[in-house]
Chain length 127, copies 2
DNA sequence: GCAACTATGTGTAGCATGCATATAGTTTGC
DNA sequence: GCAAACTATATGCATGCTACACATAGTTGC
């Protein structure tokens, strides 16, 4: 990851549109979980606990429920305050598959960008 | 590119944060150009002329000039109305290099996502 | 009893983008 | 000579994602 200090582009520019939503769908496909517990798991997908924005996480989950991608229920016991546990729905599984396609496409475009950049640098070196 | 029809995620979700800005910097590193002329060149980086949002393009270029990434001057002649031609600046070149790093990073994260998705699907098939 | 931790939520603002619309000079066809 | 099409640039408004700050409340440890 590029150093955020001395970077023209501040940390806000590192965000990737909707990557959080898609990541949550993927984690919930593996197993149901509650918001706070998902923070740890998100590290598997490159989100750092320090930078992790908890309010965004909760808001995203509620929006995903509005859209019918996940459903939630309250669960008490097991230590600590009660948790709102999320399950993925059929709609969520379909949407996750769409995200997979979108990310394949984004990856290709990024690769095209990187290749053009490299070629241009090589070309300039020859001059 | 995934089919936009029948997609849970509408076309708006295909956009990639700041990809246009970075693409413009890359194209202007190759050679100076005016806004309208950049539309064609953007196809090299996966932007389709039909979908291309011209207003966003012009607004982005003006913002980039405010940030000192590019500078512009008016050029008459050569047929058609006069053009505002953009040149990349030293700041723009530095920022482009930062974008390269950011996109390498984004690519890695997308790859992590895709790998986890595939593994999960394989795992479920075995069951 | 109080601090630290777990857990969930809202209010507000910034910022990138899309859609619609405005403006105006240039070229082409009749 | 004039209308239509094309080239070219720009702004107003709405939407949507994210960040930052703040609010709330139950649980555990000392």
């Amino acid at each position: 990851m590029p150093d955020k200090k001395d970077c023209c582009c501040n940390s806000k520019n590192h965000k990737m549109e909707k990557f959080l939503e898609a990541s949550l769908l993927l984690l919930l496909k593996r197993q149901c979980a509650h918001g706070y517990g998902l923070i740890e798991q998100l590290e598997l997908l490159g989100f750092s606990s320090e930078d992790m924005n908890v309010s965004t996480l909760y808001r995203t989950l509620r929006k995903m429920e509005e859209k019918g991608q996940v459903k939630s229920y309250w669960k008490a016991g097991g230590g600590g305050p009660k948790k709102r546990v999320y399950d993925i729905t059929d709609q969520g599984l379909k949407d996750l598959e769409e995200w997979r396609k979108i990310f394949e496409y984004r990856k290709e475009r990024i690769e095209t960008f990187l290749e053009m950049y490299e070629k241009q640098c090589e070309y300039e070196e020859v001059l």
